[in-house]
């Protein structure tokens, strides 16, 4: 623990934060402190903004005075351009930010070799005077063009590099390079060798939408994320869209957030997880917005702040339309809990939307957000942008514990068949698909939970019913593998009711039959029992008869002996006892 903390401090001391949202995270703290970084890119790729922003943040947030050496534009232009970012350069300029106009005067004649020794000397004096810690050379290639000699170019690059090393300034040198395979040019090759860190900026148009990227190409002595990140030049300068790291601190919540539809909560074992992301996909009119409505309404009813971002309709349209299915958003808008934002999609890149969303989150601090539809938000600027956009959006909300509901327009009925263009379906925690089922001349809305991470959920398709009473889900009627809805469902219900009655009657009959059969069987058992008893009785009787016969024979024999011996019966009896069979009968006879 302690060791890691120290390492972090070292790391921080070794890096000079740029204050550019996203960039510092991707490089573990910013540019190498006291070293030279090369910011390369084509025309209009934002090199000057990147460099100036780093200086402005350094001066304002970390008290590091800075010098901006402007080879390309004059300082007045730069200050004017920067005014739109709200950096208030004039306030900084007094003590903490110095612009050196280093444009070669028009009509300057070159007559032989020259070098930058003089300029560096005067800059050195300025550095000492103001205690500067950061410096920008923007852009070095304008200067090198004048040299018009590769050997001299290298010599001067060395000179600048050596000077930067000696002064210990955090240096940013911008260089404009061709857009075609920019990293292959010889000049670049040499410059990047001299620099401890190289950042490549690009700018291009895709589907008429401006797309910017930032990539750290090299970073001596530091780990960095090598990916190309989307970037925007927003109202506060450049912002780099990295996927926010939230693993270490992010605690998965087990709290459930109501969907606003009781039976849907039930299907999801209580609702969406707090802080999870939910994708609602479906064809137009399948009530995606309704699910957004119930979700934010439920949030506001719990007293939570919520944000509803719509790309389709204005706030008043949303309120009116949802009121027709008894979702009352207006009171929550009035109380300030709910903010509804209607956003135009034209001519804005996905990154600009994301930037705006970040601002909205910072301002409104919602716990629940619905974006309807997300497809509109990311459609600008190609698949790659959309994909990273979706990931970043989820990271943005997850890291803040915000529960996010997104809708996405899908034409088809089968979610598995449709490739969700955002591929957000793989990232979302819960995916609910809405579709129409048309049968018997009726369109009915069907709801399926395609997936829900960490939740036992019903796999059945349900019918979604909208009415002025509100929104609910009905039980499903599966018949022959099909889910029945609407009138068909009603018919099926009736049919099943009748069938059930018949079934009952049938059962009753069956029971009676069984009872009868049982009675018969029992009777049979009884009859057999009687037979057995009769047989036993007969057997007993025979035994008794047998005994009686024996007894009579003994008596007869004794009578005979008595008659033969005459008058001495007792003695005779004693002598004859060992052979005598029934002595008892003898005694008993007495």
């Amino acid at each position: 623990m302690g060791g890691q903390g120290e390492e972090n401090i070292d790391q921080r001391q070794a890096k000079a934060p740029t204050g550019i949202q996203g960039f510092d995270q991707s490089t573990g703290g910013g540019l190498p402190r006291g070293r030279t970084s090369l910011i390369v890119g084509g025309p209009g790729s934002g090199k000057t903004v990147f460099a100036l922003q780093t200086l402005v943040h350094g001066a304002r947030r970390w008290g590091e005075p800075a010098i901006f050496v402007a080879f390309e534009e004059n300082s007045r232009q730069i200050v004017a351009n920067a005014a739109s970012f709200g950096w208030d350069l004039p306030a900084l300029e007094r003590d903490n930010l110095f612009f050196l106009d280093a444009r070669m005067a028009l009509g300057t004649i070159t007559a032989g070799r020259f070098d930058l020794a003089g300029m560096l000397a005067s800059l050195g004096a300025k550095v000492d005077e103001m205690g500067a810690r950061r410096i920008v050379f923007d852009s070095i290639d304008v200067l090198l063009l004048l040299l018009d000699d590769p050997v001299l170019e290298r010599q001067e690059i060395y000179r600048v590099h050596d000077w930067l090393s000696e002064t210990g300034l955090t240096g940013l040198v911008t260089a404009r390079i061709g857009t075609v395979d920019p990293l292959q040019s010889e000049r670049y090759g040499f410059m990047q060798y001299m620099a401890d860190c190289v950042v490549l900026l690009t700018h291009r148009l895709e589907e008429r939408v401006s797309l910017r990227t930032v990539r750290t190409v090299k970073y001596r002595g530091s780990s960095f994320v090598e990916n190309e990140f989307p970037a925007v030049i927003g109202p506060a300068g450049i912002e780099v869209g990295i996927v926010e790291q939230f693993e270490p601190t992010y605690q998965a919540s087990t709290e459930r957030v109501s969907t606003g539809i009781k039976r849907l909560d039930h299907m999801l074992s209580g609702g969406y997880y707090r802080g999870s992301s939910v994708l609602v996909s479906g064809a137009p009119g399948t009530a995606k917005s309704t699910l957004c409505g119930t979700f934010v309404e439920a949030a506001c009813q719990r007293g939570e702040r919520a944000l509803y971002i719509s790309f389709d309709e204005s706030a008043s349209e949303i309120i009116r339309n949802l009121a027709s299915v008894n979702i009352q958003l207006e009171p929550h808008v009035e109380s300030g809990l709910l903010q509804i934002c209607a956003v135009r999609t034209e001519a804005r890149s996905a990154d600009q939307h994301l930037l705006q969303l970040r601002t909205l989150i910072a301002e409104h601090k919602p716990r629940c957000i619905a974006i309807d539809p997300l497809s509109a938000m990311v459609k600008a600027g190609g698949d790659v942008a959309a994909m990273s956009m979706a990931e970043r959006l989820l990271a943005l909300t997850k890291s803040r514990g915000i529960t996010l509901l997104l809708t996405s327009l899908l034409a088809g009925d089968s979610p598995e068949m449709e490739e969700t263009p955002l591929a957000i379906s793989t990232t979302a925690d819960t995916w609910i698909h809405l579709s129409y089922v048309v049968r018997a001349g009726e369109r009915n809305r069907a709801l399926t939970i395609v997936k829900s991470r960490g939740t036992a959920h019903s796999n059945q398709v349900r019918e979604l019913l909208l009415s002025d009473e509100g929104t609910t889900l009905t039980d499903v009627y599966a018949a022959g593998g099909e889910v029945l809805m609407g009138t068909l469902r009603w018919e099926k219900e009736e049919e099943e009711r009748a069938a059930r009655a018949e079934e009952k009657a049938h059962l009753r009959r069956k029971k009676k039959e069984l009872a009868l059969a049982e009675a018969k069987a029992k009777a049979r058992i009884q009859a057999i029992q009687h037979e057995i008893e009769a047989l036993r009785y007969e057997a007993d009787r025979l035994n008794r008869e047998d005994e009686a016969l024996e007894a009579r024979r003994d008596e007869t024999e004794q009578d005979i002996r008595r008659v033969r011996q005459g008058g001495l019966p007792t003695l005779d009896v004693d002598q004859e006892r060992p052979d005598s069979d029934p002595p008892l009968a003898d005694n008993g006879g007495r």
């Binding site: 080879f71 050196l100 106009d101 280093a102 444009r103 070669m104 005067a105 009509g107 300057t108 004649i109 070159t110 007559a111 032989g112 070799r113 020259f114 070098d115 930058l116 020794a117 003089g118 300029m119 000397a121 005067s122 800059l123 050195g124 004096a125 300025k126 005077e129 200067l143 004048l146």
Partner: protein
């Protein structure tokens, strides 16, 4: 700014007396380019102008760095022709023809 007032008067011979050519050379100490520039400049002026006709101020940016900042001097050596029309020449002045043309001395040649 314009150094010491001229102690040399124009037009001693019959040649048409030009205004005194005022020059300022920014150098970086004794760096090779700067040393060459000073030598080249002195040679050319010596060849084409009488001593009284030109006046040179040498500013060493190592000695007076803030002066270069104020004068927005970017590279060294830089030569300024202060006499109108103002001309700025950068380099060690080894490209003789270019320098002579820029200082408007070449018309005397041939």
């Amino acid at each position: 700014m314009s150094a010491r007032p001229s102690d040399k008067r124009p037009g001693q011979d019959g040649s048409p007396p030009p205004d005194v050519l005022q020059l300022r050379l920014y150098v970086a100490g004794r760096s090779p380019n700067s040393v060459r520039a000073l030598t080249n400049l002195r040679t050319m002026c010596g060849e084409w102008l009488a001593d009284d006709d030109w006046q040179l101020e040498v500013v060493d940016v190592f000695q007076d760095p803030m002066r270069a900042v104020e004068d927005k001097i970017l590279v060294t050596p830089t030569l300024l022709k202060l006499t109108p029309p103002v001309v700025q020449i950068v380099g060690d002045l080894s490209q003789r023809e270019t320098v002579l043309a820029a200082l408007d001395l070449a018309r005397s040649e041939k």
